[in-house]
């Protein structure tokens, strides 16, 4: 089973089960991880599913591209090098144990 480690803005953290093929956003929402809003339900239209991935994910997947990259420019919390939109990152087996950090706010 794949487990993801979400770190919340208050410093607390949560381990949640994840299904390969689902997105980080879907995993967070279905497990009740707070702080991921996902107003457009994964349609790449709202930038309210902003997360910071870990170095391992960033180096293996590369950075955001195209529309995702553009939309990160106006996420509510300023983007950083590890920023991604959670609805655009599909979970894969090798991500087991990865750390995903939730920003202070999405709106």
């Amino acid at each position: 089973m794949t487990t993801l480690h979400f770190v919340l803005p208050d410093g607390s953290s949560r381990d949640v089960p994840a299904t390969p093929g689902h997105s980080l956003m879907e995993t967070a929402i279905s497990n009740g991880v707070p702080g991921i809003v996902a107003e457009c339900a994964g349609s790449l239209a709202c930038a309210t599913c902003h997360v910071f991935v870990d170095e391992a994910i960033a180096s293996r997947l590369g950075g955001p591209e195209g529309a995702e990259d553009e939309m990160l420019d106006f996420a509510a919390v300023e983007r950083r090098p590890l920023s991604r939109l959670g609805c655009q990152v599909k979970i894969e087996d090798w991500m087991d144990g990865a750390t995903i950090t939730v920003p202070e706010t999405q709106v």
Partner: protein, 421 residues
């Protein structure tokens, strides 16, 4: 379900048929009660009065809004009551070339334009306006301070959102009442049941309204500023493949409606529900940190957009109901927002509700309202400022609430309160 797939061919005792027969799409009195009475048994029904399939449950509404491959949004701004040829001819004569650019167009065109518009219409840029918004609200509040009674809609909610749109457009000297009047007319022309003579009158104003949007864009070509039309013109940089000039004019024209009618109504709805419940109002006064949640609960409990439209691009099935390609669908956002499958005790207005934000008042999917963060900011500032200044505000007893009469938009046309309790 094949028995029910032919509109009109349903047995009279069947709940699907009864729902269709009892659906009064233009009537706001009793709308929530109607949906509460059908939602459990009838996820989808055909409404013969308008010729639309009506989707009542949150899950199905969300799935429909998310699936832009199967559902087209092109119908979203087409007149519910078709316009006579005379009206169309007149618009042509007046060079009314407004085209669908956002809410009523599909990918790839929608994607191209949304990626540009959202570089201006986004939470980051909106947050720069917070101080200006607060100042504006305070001016309106100062005007009513000292009065005993006031109609909040007339005194503040009607104009304030239009003033905010002017901020975005860089307009400093224009009568907000004029924009409001144009907006009201357009809403009635598209989403209402206007008579032919009403249409023939309104169409002159519609053409004037379009001319105004065009002139505004022309003026920014000559003297650009730090505003939405200037931003769009700069992005275009003369390249029609990016955006055409007519598309920019249509975007400005669109914002002149989308940006205020809904927010005026949302403010009226929110304050009406609070005023009806002095104990909920008192909570806001005592604990202003509840404001953001109360704003969401207002949007959930009494959405200012109660229904939105799509067309089936292919044969689809919604909640077991087969719907053929080309048929029209009305997603009942108001009903979705009272769906007990998502919201505990859905008919209760509760400013401390756990999950009001799961409402669909702003739609969802690729067309999710681009102004949502701004509307939220406006409502938050209004609630913060009014509750701080008039903590004892109370509803004037015995008033009849009169609603706007369109299929999609809901808001009280007046809301009389006593400012000092």
């Amino acid at each position: 379900m094949s028995d029910f797939s032919v509109p009109g061919g349903q047995p009279a005792a069947c709940p699907f048929h009864a729902a269709g027969a009892n659906h009064e799409p233009f009537r706001h009195e009793g709308m929530y009660e109607f949906f509460a009475s059908v939602r459990d048994d009838v996820p989808v029904f055909y409404s013969p009065q308008i010729g639309y399939w009506v989707v009542t449950r949150r899950e199905d509404v969300l799935a429909t809004l998310r699936d832009h491959e199967s559902f087209s949004a092109e119908i979203a701004t087409q007149p519910i009551t078709p316009w006579p040829q005379k009206v169309l001819d007149y618009l042509k004569e007046r060079n009314f070339t407004n085209e669908a650019v956002q809410v009523a167009c599909d990918p790839p065109r929608h994607t191209r334009i949304r990626m540009i518009a959202s570089r201006f219409l986004n939470v980051r840029r909106f947050s720069f306006y917070e101080d200006a918004l607060r100042k504006l609200v305070r001016v309106y509040i100062d005007r009513i301070t000292g009065l005993d009674e006031v109609d909040l809609v007339d005194a503040i909610f009607y104009e304030f959102p239009a003033q905010v749109v002017f901020l975005l457009l860089g307009e400093t000297d224009f009568d907000p009442r004029k924009i409001k009047k144009w907006g009201d007319l357009r809403l009635n022309m598209v989403w209402g049941k206007p008579s032919e003579s009403e249409l023939e009158l309104a169409v002159h104003d519609l053409a004037d309204f379009w001319d105004y949007a065009c002139e505004l864009v022309e003026a920014r070509k000559v003297a650009p500023g730090d505003d939405y039309p200037s931003f769009l013109l700069a992005r275009r940089d003369g390249d029609d493949a990016v955006l055409t000039e007519n598309e920019i004019k249509s975007l400005v024209f669109g914002l002149l409606i989308a940006g205020h009618e809904t927010t005026t109504n949302a403010a009226g709805n929110l304050f009406l529900e609070l005023m009806k419940r002095p104990e909920e109002w008192a909570k806001i006064v005592r604990r202003p940190e509840l404001v953001a949640n109360a704003v969401e609960e207002g949007l959930r409990y009494a959405s200012s957009v109660v229904a939105w439209r799509r067309t089936a691009k292919v044969d689809v099935t919604i909640a077991g109901q087969d719907i053929p390609k080309g048929d029209r669908i009305l997603v009942a956002l108001a009903s979705a927002n009272h769906d007990g499958a998502c919201f505990d005790d859905p008919e209760t207005f509760d400013v401390e509700r756990r999950n009001p934000r799961e409402h669909l008042a702003f739609g969802s999917g690729i067309h999710t309202c681009l102004g949502a963060p701004l509307a939220r900011l406006e409502l938050k500032v209004l609630l913060e400022e009014l509750s701080a200044r008039f903590p004892d505000m109370a509803l004037m007893p015995g008033q009849e609430i009169d609603w706007t009469k369109t299929i999609s938009f809901r808001g009280p046309s007046q809301l009389r309160v006593r400012l000092r309790g």
